[in-house]
Amino acid sequence: MALNIDETIEQKFQLIGGNFNNAGESSSQLKLKLTELGADEDIIRRTAVATFEAEMNVIIYAAAGWLHYSITPQYVRVRIEDMGPGIEDIELAMKEGYSTAPDWVREMGWGAGMGLPNMKKNSDEFKIESVVGEGTTVEMLINFP
């Protein structure tokens, strides 16, 4: 069911690497917004999970980044760009279980190598671009049924 909104709703958040206490806040706010708009429960869950995984990647690996979402009557699009180390081999990084996370990240419950596959699994369209030494951009689109 398409959302009953007149215009595109957009929001942008700055993400700070290493800020674990606030990590996930922008994903929570997107979830809240979709709930307010009366989106389908499964769509909300998929969007929230995919966005949260992307947000955590920025917090864990990058110095800083931006999360931008836009909600139209037909879909929600989330774009996350970071100033991080970049990904050397994207194909490898997309494999379930592959991770370059150091021990301290694993001790916090992250770095299982499921983040990128989980983003792809929960999106209808998933794009990733990365330049080593510059950063990574992930764009996800989830259609309203």
Partner: protein
């Protein structure tokens, strides 16, 4: 026996001899399945709605993961208790927290034996 029962917070607390750190506003919440993990991405990948998370991690991201994934309740094993600020965060987000003396294996086994199924891998 294939477990296929729903259980309430009170029943889980009794089975696991758990302390209730944050009680539920709604005592009628019915938990339909359980997920045991310390890796949050695994929880986000495999979880099902209306589940209880059994974990040894007490970081703030555990509460956030539950909020994002729609997990209805968290049980900490080995009598672990998160810091007060994390307990307050869970209360604000209305996610009940329990702390059990059992290890993750035993806590999971006891709930399975009581009829609560695991999250299915899709």
């Amino acid at each position: 026996m294939k477990p296929e029962k729903t259980v309430t917070l009170k029943e889980i607390a009794e089975i696991l001899e758990a302390d209730i750190l944050v009680d539920a506003d709604n005592q009628d919440i019915e938990i339909q399945n359980a997920c045991s993990a310390d890796m949050m991405s695994a929880v986000l990948y495999y979880h099902a709605p209306n589940s209880v998370l059994i974990t040894g991690l007490t970081q703030p991201q555990v509460i956030r993961t539950a909020e994002i994934a729609g997990i209805k309740m968290i049980v900490f094993v080995f009598n672990k208790k998160p810091e007060q600020v994390i307990i307050d965060m869970a209360r604000q987000k209305k996610i009940p927290l329990l702390s059990t003396p059992f290890c993750m294996y035993s806590a999971s086994g006891k709930l399975y034996q009581a009829g609560l199924p695991g999250c299915s891998v899709k």
